[in-house]
């Protein structure tokens, strides 16, 4: 009889830079998914593999140097081990850095779980001249050891086998017991005895581990004992006494001695198991760092790297979207063809609303190629080890503002220079270990100039600052980071005051060549996470926005007015063609709408075509579709069986229809403008005018800014539909149309709008990322509201202040710029409270 297949829970632990995620991928392959640990933003990767007929479920714990309760990652790793009680724990150890890695191994052993030591990167250790006796190591630690080379996929099967056999033999698991020295051991012994009398505690925890942690003054364990043990208070006061006695006697805290003993034991084991066969004076990493961290070359290389990333991802990625956009557009057209067809002056809701939603979705999906490149580049930066050097070089600058050396990358991605995207920016904040700095960075990334803000800048600068274009672009692309730094410091001193701040102790890992599969893995994982999280929410929001800008809609009279107007136009059209035209029947009644669609599609297709060949192909396609309609759109001039034909009837229909088409477009636009103005959003725009006038915003601007909330890239489009063309219906450029309707506008008005856009709240997908990365709705709302308040205050300052002082737009900008620099400089010098002591 077969044994029933079991599910074996295995946790993968290890220090940072030990190649933990590589081993995790190696063990589980593609069978994995990402979740979050409950209530926090730390990623929890879960995968599985089959071994000897059993299903082994593997959970990747956060990489930690230790298992104290001081950092979130350590608490998570520890809680998982304590509460989920995995059957086997795999400790990934960097073979070339054995001593420090064993420090964690000892702590894992103390927790009393069956442990497998994965001696990773043995090839690197060998190259550095270390020869490791794995059998001796296994004997000394009392745990199985499996050597691997993660990035070359070596040792996978052995590791899997070792995990399974450790599980089978877990009853016989007898690891070493670290000796903390006589004085401490006698205290630990009596504590252990006391603790082991409490059955509730012993259900989950090892008495040895509890005793050691209590002597280390671990606040979480103190809390745990207090809550779970009936004699908690007694135990804790005993610990307190013992600690005080120890400190009095040895003039140092027990945790110091404990750490020292762990390191000593690790040192001894390394001495016994590792032979140094050759001494390598300088490694490649040393030599690279001599240049990369050099006082002069360091910043130059850093700037080049950042510029290169920006070029590759934002500039070239943007070009890539030119190839992917047609695919998205084709999808849209496909959906459009399934929906009810267009109406003459307005579209049925079953068409308009789904299309509005799809437009919202594809607008976001359009950025996916950029994300793919960006995430791949970030993965490369992380895997090579250059990320740590970036932080090393830049930390000094950012620390003044309560940020971290690692804040630079998110800010760049968000668009410090013009054109970025806040979504990957916020996602990149994961790398920041200091919680306070991480939160501050997440909150200021959306203030950067994302790509969607640019069109509005360009439009308004072109209109009002035509002669100082370059200067204004420079102002805008630099003012945002200046303001953001000051904001970061203010947040740091106020709302983020109580957040955890971590000391800056950063390992500078040896440089590694990243592997293709490793990079792709991470890249796809992150893009998928983005797509999965975003799509559903964007659909909902786009639907809501549609309702807000379309309802309550026109009243009966106005609706009727458009109905009458359009049927009159159609009437005129038919009269012009006359009854004896051979095409009359073809464009009569419902067929007129069919022709309208055909006409629009043909014009659209022709507009995109550049070469003669593509034009001919389009002609052929449309001819095949409906030859009779084709004759009309060709103005009656077409070839048939090699003969050139001039068809006067068709020409007549074409001429009449052209007129009708223009009238139709005009009505559609007018009706749409009226609908927006009367919509909930439009009413809000009017409602806000008494307040926003101090910022120079009238209700039209309010509507455009409000509707930008769904997607900033639509700000120009919304302005376009609010500022309609004049009735003569010449194709007037938007700039002209705005000038016509807003004769009172000065550069100050434009400057106000530009700056408000610069401070505009994050788009919905970014807000979702903020929610994901902060694990709190509260912070998401904060990230939405504070930029509005900040932006509004700034614009009122500029507009009202500028008007009072009689400044020109440029003067106001310069004055504001200087003011911003002054504020930021003052912020830099406000000392943080000495929270690290």
């Amino acid at each position: 009889m077969n044994e029933k297949a079991r599910e074996i829970l295995v946790a993968v632990a290890g220090q940072p830079n030990s190649g933990k995620s590589t081993i995790f991928n190696l063990l589980t392959g593609a069978r994995q998914h990402v979740a979050n640990y409950p209530g926090v933003t730390v990623e929890k990767k879960i995968g599985s593999f089959r071994s000897n007929g059993d299903k082994v479920v593997v959970v990747d714990l956060p990489g930690t140097y230790s298992l104290t309760s001081y950092t979130q990652e350590e608490r998570i790793a520890r809680d998982f081990l304590l509460l989920e009680r995995p059957e086997v724990v795999v400790d990934i150890v960097d073979a070339s850095n054995l001593e420090r890695n064993l420090y964690l191994t000892f702590q894992l052993i103390e927790m009393g779980l069956p442990l497998v030591l994965d001696l990773n990167m043995v090839d690197v250790a060998k190259r550095r001249g270390f020869e490791i006796n794995t059998e001796e190591l296994s004997r000394q630690l009392g745990i199985p050891v499996a050597p691997t080379v993660g990035n070359k996929s070596r040792g996978k099967d052995e590791l899997r086998q070792t995990i399974h056999s450790t599980y089978k033999n877990k009853q016989n698991f007898t690891p070493i017991r670290l000796n903390y020295g006589e004085t401490l051991e006698s205290v630990l012994k009596s504590l252990e005895e006391e603790l082991s009398q409490d059955p509730r505690l012993m259900e989950h925890y090892s008495s040895r581990w509890l005793a050691v942690r209590l002597m280390e003054n671990d606040s979480e364990v103190q809390r745990l004992v207090r809550q779970q043990s009936q004699r908690g208070e007694d135990i804790l006061s005993k610990v307190e006494q013992e600690r005080e006695y120890f400190i009095g006697e040895h003039k140092k805290a027990p945790e110091k001695l404990i750490a020292q003993q762990r390191y000593q034991a690790a040192g001894k084991i390394v001495e016994n198991c590792v032979k140094r066969v050759k001494v390598i004076p300088t490694t490649l990493t040393d030599r690279i760092d001599k240049v990369v961290c050099n006082r002069f070359f360091g910043p130059v290389i850093l700037a080049t790297t950042i510029y290169g990333m920006y070029q590759l991802a934002i500039v070239h990625g943007y070009k890539l979207t030119e190839y992917t956009w047609p695919l998205l557009a084709a999808f849209r057209n496909f959906v459009a063809s399934m929906l009810p067809s267009e109406g003459f002056v307005y579209d049925p809701i079953l068409r308009a609303m789904p299309l509005g939603v799809i437009d919202g979705v594809i607008a976001v999906l359009n950025y996916v190629p950029i994300f793919v490149i960006l995430f791949a580049l970030i993965a490369i930066l992380e895997d090579t080890g250059y990320m740590a050097r970036m932080a090393f070089i830049l930390d000094r600058v950012f620390r003044y503002f309560g940020l971290h050396g690692h804040s630079v990358l998110p800010l760049i991605l968000g668009g410090v220079c013009v054109g970025g995207c806040a979504i990957p920016g916020v996602m990149a904040c994961r790398g920041i270990k200091d919680e306070k700095a991480r939160m501050a960075t997440i909150l200021i990334v959306p203030l950067m100039n994302c790509m969607a803000k640019i069109p509005l800048y360009v439009l308004l600068i072109g209109m009002f600052f035509a002669r100082q274009k370059a200067l204004m672009m420079f102002f805008i692309s630099t003012i945002t980071i200046i303001i953001a730094l000051a904001v970061a410091k203010i947040l740091n001193l106020t709302v983020l005051r109580k957040k955890e701040s971590a000391p800056f102790i950063l390992e500078m890992p040896a440089y590694h060549l990243p592997t293709f599969s490793g990079v792709m893995h991470r890249c796809i994982e992150r893009v998928w996470l983005f797509v999965k999280k975003i799509i559903s929410v964007v659909i909902i929001v786009a639907a809501i926005v549609y309702v807000l800008i379309s309802y309550p809609g026109l009243n009966k009279e106005r609706s009727a007015y458009y109905e009458i107007q359009s049927s009159q136009a159609i009437q005129t059209f038919h009269e012009k063609i006359g009854d004896n035209n051979s095409y009359t029947k073809l464009v009569a009644g419902a067929q007129l709408m069919e022709f309208t669609t055909y006409w629009d599609e043909y014009k659209k297709a022709k507009m995109g075509a550049k070469t003669k060949q593509t034009k001919e192909a389009i002609d052929q396609k449309f001819y095949n579709k409906k030859p009779e309609f084709f004759k009309i759109v060709k103005r009656g001039k077409y070839e048939l069986e090699g003969k050139k034909i001039v068809d006067k009837d068709a020409a007549r229909v074409e001429k009449a229809y052209k007129k009708l088409s223009k009238t139709r477009k005009k009505f559609r636009r007018e009706r749409r403008e009226e609908t927006i103005t009367l919509s909930y959003l439009g009413k809000t725009g009017h409602f806000l005018e008494p307040v926003t006038k101090f910022a120079g915003f009238n209700w039209r601007v309010n509507i455009a800014l409000l509707s930008s909330f769904a997607a900033k890239e639509s700000s120009v489009a919304t302005l376009g539909s609010i500022y309609q063309s004049s009735p003569e219906d010449k194709e007037v450029r938007l700039e002209e149309r705005i000038k016509e309707k807003e004769p009172g506008w000065t550069p100050l008005h434009a400057l106000g709008i530009i700056l408000f856009m610069a401070m505009y709240p994050p788009c919905i997908p970014t807000l979702l990322m903020v929610k994901l990365e902060t694990a709190s709705l509260k912070w998401m709302f904060f990230a939405t509201l504070y930029p509005i308040v900040l932006g509004f205050i700034m614009v009122v300052l500029i507009f009202t202040g500028g008007n009072l002082l009689g400044l020109s737009g440029l003067q106001a900008m310069v004055a504001f710029y200087i003011l911003a620099i002054a504020v930021t400089t003052v912020m830099a010098f406000i000392k943080r409270k000495p929270e690290l002591a």
Binding site: V397, R399, F504, I505, L836
Partner: protein, 74 residues
Amino acid sequence: MTLDEVKPGQECSVVDVHAEGALGQRMLDMGFVPEVRIKVIRNAPLVDPIEIFMKGYFLSLRHAETKAVEVVLL
């Protein structure tokens, strides 16, 4: 003397870490225990932080943190 006073290129040995709580524990975990040898490698381009070498690996720390490490020059 403290670790922030050690110049790049110089080597020293840890005497004690004068820090409590999170920072103190973190330094212990990273290996700042008595008698450990530390070599100061370099300053960052803007002087702070510094990079050190100990126990076979490289670490970077801010001056604020290195002030807590009491050392003797070797």
